[in-house]
Symmetry: C2
Subunit: 130 residues, 2 copies
């Protein structure tokens, strides 16, 4: 589980008032597995889906392609039980830690949507760890 002892607890009202929705009324939302710490997906929320997420304890998103609210896992059973909702310094991105149910978060069947990657072997750290 993620050590996140630098997070200051705020209320739902403070969170909501901190969010700066973009010109389409949306905010990008990163979903992270609380257990494995993997980043599972990124999706968009509007004000209503954020309210529904905080109230229901399950993730709700806004589908830009279908212009509709979208309850994650409604058909697949791969719902996300919400544990923490954080907002970034300038209020334009959310991070939600979840207990992912089912096999994963991706519609392709992958555990995470980020299943293709390039390894970069560049400069090494100078912190004594190398």
């Amino acid at each position: 589980m993620i050590e996140r002892n630098y997070v200051k607890r705020i209320s739902s009202e403070e969170l909501i008032s901190s969010v700066k929705f973009n010109s389409d009324g949306l905010v990008p939302t990163i979903i992270q597995d609380r257990d494995t710490s993997a980043v599972l997906m990124m999706a968009w929320m509007n004000r209503e889906s954020l309210d529904m997420t905080l109230e229901s304890g399950r993730t709700w998103f806004w589908s830009r392609s279908r212009s509709t609210l979208w309850p994650k896992g409604e058909t697949s059973g791969e719902i996300q039980l919400v544990r923490q909702v954080s907002v970034d310094c300038d209020g334009d991105t959310l991070l939600i830690e979840v207990d992912q149910q089912g096999g994963g978060a991706c519609h392709t069947g992958s555990y995470s949507c980020f299943y293709r990657g390039v390894e970069v072997k560049g400069e090494q750290a100078h912190d004594g760890s190398e």
Copy 2:
């Protein structure tokens, strides 16, 4: 360190051709600390900053407010050494695992930009872990 054995290795060329930049030529990019697994920040890349990130092994972003390329940590020393760049299933978000140098990623001095959060205690998991 994150267990990410579900990631399929692709080439830089495959990665770049998989990315769908938005109508402004940008893609949201999540930065994760490879060591602690914390999500540090989200920023935007254009094609040029992605190229520069892959070539230099350090993160470069596009500043939407200043309309300029932006090398992370140039002035603060809090550079990010890139270890893996992943693209999501539909190509519209990047995830970069880094070795964060210095005290953290946030311009406020916080380790992560996501330092304010609401704890949500809702439904419990049905996977036997509770």
